[in-house]
């Protein structure tokens, strides 16, 4: 049986095909470009937020150690911070631990001495050394040789710590930045906009 051909069953003409192809190309191109840029943007947002949290963690760690520190020294390039803290925790080999090994890892009971300028709390003469340093893209905290990675990412987290000693006290001012991966028009986003500042005073320096 032979079907009767209708004009409505003709295929597209070349101009129709060209216009459809052009229109679909534009739509597909816009879709792909949008998807790519959105994915990049979401990735940058995720990266920024994650690194921002790492900044906060560094500030928390550093402030805690500085506040209980007896001495804080900062390297000339402001990339390494060394803090001397009292031995608050009884460690293996300490006099208390030799007498009673079960005390290892427990807080040391301080002694209180009355001095001409008031009461003074002491945790003994032994001290621990805490060092903050940058190793590649990570910031490390080392206490008596035990290393903890405080921040580890593909970003460059750079703490700039200034140790200032006044006539009657001492404090550190810290600023931490990182390089965001946002770009605008091909230009890399500014590092300065990521700065988190912190100030911490050495409380042990204020003792009588």
């Amino acid at each position: 049986m032979k079907l009767k051909l209708s004009r409505k069953r003709f295929a597209f003409t070349l101009p129709e095909m060209s216009i459809a192809l052009a229109a679909s190309s534009v739509i597909l191109g816009a879709t792909l470009t949008s998807s790519t840029s959105l994915q990049k943007s979401f990735n940058a947002i995720d990266n920024y937020y994650g690194t921002h949290m790492q900044q906060v963690r560094i500030v928390d760690y550093l402030s805690r150690d500085v506040k209980r520190g007896l001495v804080v020294t900062t390297s000339a390039d402001l990339q390494t911070v060394t803090i001397t803290v009292p031995n608050y925790i009884i460690q293996a080999g300490d006099a208390e631990a030799v007498i009673n090994p079960a005390l290892v890892g427990t807080p040391r009971t301080p002694t209180m001495v009355y001095t001409p300028s008031g009461w003074q709390v002491n945790y003994g003469n032994a001290t621990s050394t805490v060092v903050y340093s940058i190793n590649g893209m990570s910031i490390l905290r080392s206490e008596n040789g035990t290393v903890t990675t405080i921040a580890s990412s593909t970003d460059q987290l750079v703490p700039l710590t200034t140790d200032v000693e006044l006539s009657n006290t001492e404090y550190t001012k810290t600023s931490i930045t990182f390089q965001p991966i946002f770009t605008s028009g091909g230009a890399v986003a500014s590092r300065s906009g990521t700065t988190v500042y912190s100030t911490a005073y050495l409380r042990n320096k204020r003792r009588g």
Binding site: M1, L3, K8, R9, F12, I27, A30, T31, S34, L38, S41, F42, I45, Y48, Y49, H52, Q55, V56, V59, S63, S117, G118, N168, T169, Y171, K173, S175, T195, V196, Y197, S198, T199, A200, Y201, K205, R206, R207, G208
Partner: protein, 164 residues
């Protein structure tokens, strides 16, 4: 053999194509707006962290004062003239410090630092005592996200100690 129906052989009409295009545009507009909201949330997070650091740094500065200076309105006013840190957040925050004797207050010394750096003394306590004071530090600012009013504050009890 079945003859193809009319609807099977016709192409997409202009109105159908336009509807599809509108749906696609709406979808992408939503995604872009979601992206923009994420960026604004990051900005809000940065503000909150800056406020927290602002309060903590100011508390540290006050804690470091000699007790005689802490109960001296002029000394505190001088201290507050300087922003607690170099963050640009200080230029949009109003900071309030309240100092009162603890546990029994006898008036409140209150100072306010405006975003432009001016410090005003709102009130002076009758007596702050000589041993223990309560120090409240509060910052208030208008959030970039949504223009909402936000505050962050902390309280410290500071005793009359001695320095080395």
């Amino acid at each position: 053999m079945k003859k193809p129906s009319k609807s099977q052989i016709r192409g997409t009409t202009l109105s159908e194509a336009l509807v599809g295009l509108v749906i696609l545009a709406t979808f992408f507009a939503s995604i872009f707006e979601l992206n923009a909201v994420c960026l604004r949330y990051i900005d809000a997070t940065k503000e909150s962290v800056a406020a927290l650091q602002h309060v903590q740094d100011r508390a540290e500065m006050l804690r470091n004062l000699a007790f005689t200076d802490l109960i001296d309105t002029t000394a505190v006013q001088t201290l507050m003239a300087t922003a607690p840190n170099a963050a640009p957040f200080a230029q949009k925050a109003t900071e309030t410090v309240r100092i009162s004797a603890y546990p029994t207050a006898n008036g409140v010394t209150q100072l306010t630092r405006m975003p432009n750096g001016n410090v005003t003394t709102d009130s002076v306590a009758t007596d702050l005592g000589k041993e223990l004071v309560q120090v409240d530090v509060k910052v208030a600012w208008t959030m970039t996200l949504g223009g909402r009013a936000r505050t962050e504050q902390t309280t410290n009890l500071l005793s009359n100690g001695t320095k080395k």
